[in-house]
């Protein structure tokens, strides 16, 4: 266990906050050993999934996907197409469930809501709070969140202020997340740590703790705009933080690795890791998501291979 250092600049805010739960997060977090973490993470890729287990895993992975498009050139048309694909990823005969959500920029929430309607099984997630850098004033970040929720977003994927975190201003980061959670209202909050910029596993663990304490419903690895994005060891560190938080508080926080997961094989390794770290209760789209765009196509190709016995050409599958 180590004591979290606070800089002088954060002290006033830190001392201004009374809740006991807050003290717990800031007092101590476990240290993380890099070598054994990476070794453990690699061990999950050695599980060999065949036949029915493979097919079930592939379908489960589809149901956990946040089908994502986060580009400047996104159009309402592309979003509509993404929504359609999320609702029914492939012909009904393959029995593939819908994706968990579509993930878009705030300006595209309205078209997505128009397309999906109010009772869609597919949720609308929107990145907000000055995605991807988070380098914006808090006031505009909160306004962005409120408007996005008003436009119909079910879930808000916020980015943390990495500058504040890395400068040791953990209280500031906590406050921003808590304020964003308040601005979310009924919408679920996913907190993106951007682990590629936090660099060390100790940082990832601490940031996860703060995000969960401050009210995040999910913790998420990456924006997808920074490399490295999601990795197995980083996700493992976050899953272990979720597990310890569960034992301490009784609250099940969700996990979303995002960015860099492109193949069905990778996705199955993540599911194995969730199953063997947090158990069966987390094997649900309510508590585990994968942020991806091209992954779904590979999952579908593998599902069709399981059903038909051979691979189909890529042009039989709709674009990501």
């Amino acid at each position: 266990m180590k004591t979290v250092p606070g800089t002088l600049a954060t002290r006033p805010a830190f001392l201004a906050l009374p809740p006991a739960s807050f003290q717990r997060a800031f007092a101590t977090v476990p240290t993380i050993d890099q070598i054994m973490t990476e070794e453990r993470a690699a061990a999950f890729t050695k599980r060999s999934l065949k036949t029915t287990a493979k097919l079930a895993g592939l379908k489960m992975a589809v149901s956990m996907c946040d089908l994502t498009t986060l580009e400047g050139k996104d159009t309402p048309g592309k979003v509509a197409y993404l929504c359609r694909k999320a609702l029914q990823p492939i012909e009904a005969k393959y029995g593939v469930p819908p994706c968990a959500a579509v993930c878009v920029y705030p300006n595209l929430v309205k078209p997505a809501r128009r397309f999906l309607g109010d009772r869609s099984p597919v949720k609308i997630a929107a990145v907000a709070t000055g995605f991807p850098s988070g380098q914006y004033p808090l006031r505009t970040k909160l306004e962005e969140v409120r408007r996005t929720v008003a436009d119909g977003a079910d879930e808000i994927d916020m980015v943390i202020d990495r500058g504040a975190f890395l400068a040791g201003e953990h209280a500031r980061m906590f406050d921003e997340i808590a304020a964003t959670k308040a601005a979310c209202g009924p919408a679920h909050l996913k907190v993106i740590l951007e682990t590629g910029e936090l660099v060390t596993y100790d940082n990832v663990r601490l940031a996860s703790e703060i995000a969960m304490q401050a009210g995040g419903d999910f913790i998420k690895t990456s924006t997808g705009k920074v490399s490295p994005a999601a990795t197995l060891p980083v996700t493992l560190v976050m899953l272990e933080a979720i597990r310890d938080h569960f034992f301490a508080t009784g609250i099940r926080i969700g996990m979303k690795p995002a960015g860099g997961i492109r193949t069905a094989k990778q996705a199955l390794a993540y599911l194995v890791m969730v199953k063997e770290t947090l158990g069966d209760d987390w094997l649900t789209p309510d508590l585990f998501r994968i942020g991806a765009s091209s992954l779904v196509t590979d999952l579908l190709m593998q599902i069709v291979k399981c059903a038909e016995g051979n691979y189909q050409a890529a042009e039989y599958f709709s674009l990501p």
């Binding site: 266990m1 287990a53 406050d175 959670k181 308040a182 401050a214 419903d217 099940r252 158990g279």
Partner: protein, 513 residues
């Protein structure tokens, strides 16, 4: 200043904010559920391409020959109890033939061969092992019961690595010991155990050959198949006849090797009990001796350790290869303050270990090597329970046939318990606590053994301080059961003497002038 005051304002608001939108699971229901949702279907490694001959002969002077007395004993698959083959039983006459062949090869070929030529043979053997790695891994798993995941990813890569490593030394021996010149010893008699059959053969044969010795090797009676398969690799590599001879059999065969007058060196890996007999038998004979015997390693977890990673180290330390590891971390010493967390995490973690068919690629814990070993494990665990320890085991179902023991740990153990003193050689961990580093040290060293130890702490200085005082040949810090041919391995006290692996491993097979 302005910016700061804004933060303070938001903070005040935030203090009431974290709204709970989740159901809170009551304390008594807060457990992880490692159930059958999305269970993995069996994924079996195919053993069919690698049939096992119904009978295995002795490998003497480059040829497979029948034993003089025509006696054979069965070798079974411990996961199914089905016979795999029958193995020749070598008597004293057979051992004598093997030693004569080794002596002839030493005098006429191997001892005189330029070192770089010896190296070429070793490189060739290493490469053939790599080519046949899958077959050897399957045979190792079928014969010994260890999971294919381990024989494929640990044993076989290390076997090849040992031959490669010592192949590299063969023509550089004169630089290994500055100021001294190494000479080969002659004929080495080597007796190896059943827990890592092929790896132990590699540990013994590779340095012996690199240094210019010839070999008579006896594998353990329950695991002879891969050593004999290795013999065919020696044939394929064109290794001169008699350089390596493999005689199979049980204790009597081993005794014939130990007592043979024309052997210059005995290397034994196995139990301390047998090791003591060998030491007595060899005393005064002029034979050089190295012994790698039992262990009861302390795996010490300090409060400042990276806990989840330490748990992985505990698992790797005791459940690797069903605990059939002489350096297994079988005594867990946990600092008081983290004891409850360690127990809870360990309890959860062992639930995810999969016990079953060793050929299933998803199996973590395979079969116990023999009925005798299973009986020994059961007897020792029962003694622990009789002496007041509490049992923690996985709930997994075990196959009906074969020898199985689920991953187990015992709490409420004191240092006076038998399970804290005797080597169990199975997947059974004895958990104890300590308060200060001094106490941990005292307890860790309070054993007749001294093979290995583990230290888990975030503090580098503590690692060095502990390592300097622990009486153990191998000490792992923030990891466990890591092996590499460049690193010497061996024990203190009743865990034996002499080192295998690394530069030091050469000294065991050389006379230094």
């Amino acid at each position: 200043m302005k910016a700061k005051s804004q933060v303070a304002k938001i903070s005040a608001k935030a203090a009431v904010v974290p709204k709970i939108s989740h159901p809170i699971i009551p304390l008594k229901d807060r457990r992880l559920n490692f159930g059958a949702k999305w269970d993995y279907t069996p994924s079996l490694e195919d053993a069919k391409p690698y049939p096992i001959a119904p009978r295995h002969e002795l490998f003497i002077n480059g040829k497979f020959i029948a034993p003089a007395a025509r006696n054979y004993f069965p070798s079974i698959n411990p996961a199914t109890e089905q016979p795999l083959t029958e193995i020749a039983e070598a008597n004293a006459d057979d051992v004598d033939r093997a030693v004569k062949a080794a002596r002839r090869a030493y005098d006429r070929v191997w001892g005189k061969m330029p070192a770089r030529e010896r190296g070429k043979y070793l490189y060739r053997i290493a490469r053939i092992i790599q080519e046949k790695a899958r077959e050897l891994a399957v045979l190792e798993t079928v014969d010994g019961g260890k999971p294919i995941k381990e024989s494929r990813d640990v044993d076989l890569p290390l076997v090849a690595a040992h031959f490669f490593y010592y192949a590299g030394w063969a023509d550089k021996l004169k630089y290994a010991f500055p100021g001294k010149t190494p000479h080969p010893l002659g004929v080495a008699g080597q007796i190896i155990p059943w827990n890592f059959p092929l790896l132990m053969a590699a540990w013994k044969i590779a340095p012996a050959l690199a240094c210019g010795n010839t070999v008579v090797l006896k594998p353990a009676e329950t695991t002879s198949i891969t050593a004999l398969r290795l013999a065919t690799i020696f044939q394929e590599a064109g290794l001169p006849d008699g350089v390596v001879n493999i005689v199979t059999g049980a204790g009597a065969t081993g005794a014939a090797i130990v007592n043979h007058p024309d052997i210059n060196k005995i290397a034994f890996t196995g139990s301390t009990e047998v090791g003591k007999h060998i030491a007595k038998a060899v005393a005064g004979s002029g034979k050089k001796l190295t012994l790698e015997l039992g262990g009861k390693a302390a795996n010490i977890i300090f409060e400042d350790a990276s806990l989840d990673q330490a748990i992985e180290g505990i698992i790797a330390g005791i459940y690797f290869n069903q605990g059939h590891v002489c350096c297994a971390g079988s005594r867990l010493l946990v600092q008081e303050g983290i004891y409850p967390q360690v127990i809870e995490k360990l309890r959860d973690r062992i639930q995810t270990l999969r016990v079953g068919n060793p050929l299933d690629k998803n199996t973590d814990i395979g079969a116990i090597n023999s009925a005798a070993q299973l009986a020994k494990i059961r007897e020792l665990v029962q003694s622990g329970l009789d002496e007041g320890a509490a049992l923690q085991q996985t709930q997994c179902a075990l196959p009906a046939k074969g020898y199985w023991y689920p991953p187990t740990f015992l709490t409420g153990v004191t240092h006076a318990h038998r399970v804290a003193q005797e080597e169990i050689f199975g997947p059974v961990l004895s958990v104890m606590t300590f308060r200060t580093p001094e106490e941990a040290l005292e307890r860790a060293n309070n054993t007749p053994y001294g093979l290995s130890a583990g230290i888990w702490t975030d503090k580098g200085s503590k690692i060095f301080k502990m390592a300097a005082k622990l009486q153990a040949g191998v000490i792992w810090a923030n990891c466990y059961n890591k092996f590499d041919p460049t690193s010497p391995f061996g024990g203190y006290k009743e865990s034996g003497f002499g080192r295998e692996g690394g530069l030091q491993g050469l000294a065991a097979y050389s006379r230094l002038d």
